[in-house]
């Protein structure tokens, strides 16, 4: 029989076997055996967060910027419950995470022991899958399985709960190559007959549009390249969800920008008017569709998704293709070529003429002045001064996030990390730290708001400790801007509790952590401040005072259709919101 290892040693050996280089975590009583084993090895690096939610977001940033699985290690009880928001975020945005949680010893489970929580019970609904390991013999097998489940099919977070006696017990190690899951087999290749049907529909289209999402990014950089070449060969317009930005180069002529609630006029109107919609790796989220019964009413819809439960969930489609984007697009290209499909150029030209007319509306336009920095302007300048560098962008949640999506142009996948599905304020700083750990030489900027930043600002210490020179670019409008915008639009401008009172002195705050603090108020100083931020080898907190009353446009008010957009403050506020729309979030 092979060598007996302690449970904790098995855990680390399994992580090394799975290619883990870094673990984000926080120690505590139940995981002390793992921390002891970490201390006695040098293969795996540990990054100490300041709060377990931060650890999960760091792992998310790491995972989304590399395509690898992010690994988290937290203790039992509060360690696990603090991780729940991060896990839910990863589930909603399909981010591969393996989160190891400590647990009280098996013989105390159920006794309300100190720092005991029913971790598998609590995380069952916010993970793709979870495990409680009750015997040391099951440890290696379970961890290997966890990595397979997290990283394949539609990726997601997996929790492995580890009782302390299991970590201290002994068992032989089982390598990953010997572990096979009994029932879990995601479908990668799609039914070719359905692909032929889809391609034929595309060939006959008069007003086609590609609508892509985060699934394309998850399928990998080669899938993005394949899709881009296919889209170019069709000549069709393409739009992307928030999560899909970067999967298709934003500077390309065929790209219409983001669609949805704060998407561009041309993208939303093209979605409304199209006759064939090719949805790839997106899930018809309510932020995207708006009013469902008025969503692309005349379109034949093709939906490609690796998750069968995403199909026909919100919108009934005509051709449902279950499979991985890379495989499906490869097949589509082959069928397209084999059938020698040539879309009718005349119809396409008319369609593009219509789209160009919508584009001419210049929906993202805003007015600048000499005294106040506009938030859009701050992001445009940040983009101009960073686009030629090796840059990664994360965001928090709110107006600044939407402006970042509108004004920062992504040419490659895995460069844009944002909390789309769950909308987790406080995501951006820890996510930026995870990105910086994975890409130590790159420029990593968290486009932030003063309210969101305060939700996980404790992670400033993590940046200082590991010399992670992230840049936090705060668009400070002294409001929870998106909340204020909705209160203005829907609640008679009664700004209930949305004012950011008692803000810290951000420069002093930065300095107290050994960061560089910058403060900008005038448009004339903006470029120099951004340059100083970029050039600094320290982490930087840059407090950009922006116009506090600016709202994010265009906007499809909740419950409205794609062709019912508010273009700016001159549109009658709230006029388009029905009683039904008022209850939507």
């Amino acid at each position: 029989m092979s060598e007996q290892l302690s449970g904790a040693e098995i855990v680390l050996k399994a992580l090394v076997d799975q290619g883990v280089e870094v673990v984000f975590g926080y120690p505590g009583g139940a995981v002390l055996p793992i921390y002891d084993a970490l201390f006695r090895q040098n293969r795996i690096r540990h990054v100490l967060c300041r709060h377990e939610q931060g650890a999960v977001h760091m792992a998310e940033g790491y995972a989304r910027s590399t395509g690898k699985v992010g690994c988290v290690l937290v203790t039992s009880g509060p360690g696990a419950t603090n991780a729940v928001t991060g896990l839910t975020d990863a589930l909603m945005d399909s981010v591969p995470i393996v989160c190891l949680t400590g647990q009280v010893p098996t013989f105390l489970i159920g006794n309300d022991a100190f720092q005991e929580a029913d971790t598998t019970g609590i995380t069952r609904q916010c993970t793709k899958h979870n495990y409680l390991v009750k015997e040391p013999d099951r440890l290696a097998r379970t961890i290997h399985e966890a990595f397979v489940v997290a990283s394949t099919g539609r990726p997601g977070p997996v929790v492995v709960d580890l009782p302390k006696d299991v970590l201290m017990g002994k068992a032989p190690y089982i390598p990953a190559s010997r572990v096979k899951h009994r029932s879990y087999k995601p479908q990668m290749k799609a039914d070719i007959a359905l692909i032929e049907q889809a391609v034929e529909l595309m060939g006959k289209a008069q007003r086609p549009i590609f609508y892509i999402g985060g699934g394309v990014v998850n399928s990998g950089p080669s899938a993005c390249k394949l899709l881009a070449s296919f889209v170019r060969s069709t000549g069709f317009p393409i739009t992307s969800t928030l999560m899909g930005l970067g999967a298709y180069p934003a500077s390309d002529q065929q790209f219409l920008g983001m669609l949805g609630m704060h998407g561009t006029y041309e993208a939303n109107l093209a979605m409304h008017a199209c006759d064939v919609m090719i949805c790839i790796g997106a899930r018809f989220d309510d932020r995207v569709t708006g009013r469902l019964d008025a969503f692309a009413p005349n379109a034949k819809k093709i939906h490609v998704d690796i998750d069968p439960s995403s199909i026909n969930k919100n919108v009934v489609v005509d051709v449902a293709i279950v499979g991985d984007v890379a495989h499906v697009v490869e097949d589509m290209i082959r069928v397209w070529k084999a059938k020698q499909i040539r879309p009718t150029q005349k119809a396409l030209a008319t369609w593009w003429g219509q789209i160009d007319a919508w584009k001419a509306r210049n929906c993202l336009a805003y007015k600048t002045n000499d005294t106040t920095i506009k938030p859009q302007q701050a992001i445009e300048r940040l983009y101009a001064l960073t686009k030629d560098r090796d840059t990664y962008i994360t965001t928090e949640v709110g107006q600044h996030q939407m402006w970042a999506a509108q004004f920062y142009k992504f040419e490659e996948p895995n460069r844009w990390m944002t909390s789309g599905g769950l909308g987790t304020m406080g995501y951006g700083l820890p996510a930026a730290l995870g990105v910086q750990v994975a890409h130590p030489e790159s420029l990593v900027v968290d486009i932030s708001g003063e309210a969101s930043f305060q939700m996980n600002m404790q992670e400033m210490g993590t940046a200082s400790q590991y010399r992670l020179p992230v840049k936090v670019f705060i668009l400070n409008n002294q409001y929870m801007g998106m909340v204020r915008q909705w209160q203005e639009l829907l609640h008679g401008s009664r700004y209930s509790e949305s004012y950011s009172d008692a803000l810290p002195d951000f420069v002093k705050l930065a300095e107290s952590f050994g960061w560089l603090g910058l403060e900008v108020e005038s448009p004339a100083d903006l470029d120099d401040a951004i340059k100083t931020m970029i050039e600094s080898d320290k982490p930087v907190l840059m407090n950009v005072h922006v116009d506090p009353s600016e709202n994010c446009y265009p906007m499809i008010p909740s419950g409205a259709a794609h062709n019912d957009m508010l273009m700016g403050p001159e549109d009658t506020a709230g006029a388009g919101v029905s009683d039904h729309g008022m209850v939507l979030v």
């Binding site: 598998t120 069952r124 899958h129 899951h181 069968p308 439960s309 199909i311 026909n312 969930k313």
Partner: protein, 171 residues
């Protein structure tokens, strides 16, 4: 608009790895996504392969039923999901135990009705019977309704077990 006619009852068989928490996953899926469970039975059916079979009766529009099946299929320990209502004919059975308390004419009448429904007496005292009845849920409903005025004191139903007719099997 969704009308009442669009909502149909479906019997769904789910073959799962018999591991801890698997039933909680299924039930959590239904409560978390607002689906309805009308009946649920579960037991291990293959001790060697460690497989359990869950039989669920649920109702919804065709779109909701498709979602339920897709969501069930997405659970990691789920091996197979079959909609017995649409995938050809099937046999559906349920067992119930009824305690009927009383004396005199009502007691005799309850025995007479039990005989018509081919229910068995599995326990008897001078003042009570326990009847065992097997059949389609509708048959059980009818029997229970008839027993109500005759001193029905307690009912225990197993929930539905179902299997497809013919030689094809689930796995």
């Amino acid at each position: 608009m969704i009308t009442q006619q669009d909502i149909r009852t479906h019997t769904i068989a789910v073959l799962v790895d018999n591991e801890s928490g698997v039933l909680a996953r299924v039930i959590g899926l239904f409560s978390g996504r607002g689906y309805n469970i009308e009946s649920l039975t579960v037991a291990e059916v293959d001790p060697v392969e460690k497989l359990s079979r869950i039989t669920l009766v649920t109702s919804g529009t065709p779109m909701v039923i498709e979602q339920i099946k897709a969501q069930l299929g997405r659970l990691v320990p789920v091996r197979k999901v079959a909609d017995l209502t649409v995938e050809g004919p099937s046999v559906t059975r349920e067992l119930a135990l009824l305690k009927v308390v009383g004396t005199g004419e009502k007691r005799v009448e309850s025995l007479r009705i039990a005989d018509i429904f081919r229910a068995n007496v599995v326990d008897s005292t001078n003042e009570s019977f326990v009847f065992e009845i097997v059949g389609k849920p509708e048959k059980l409903d009818a029997f229970i309704k008839l027993m109500e005025p005759l001193g029905l004191a307690e009912t225990s139903r197993t929930g539905v077990a179902a299997i497809a007719r013919g030689k094809e099997s689930l796995l």
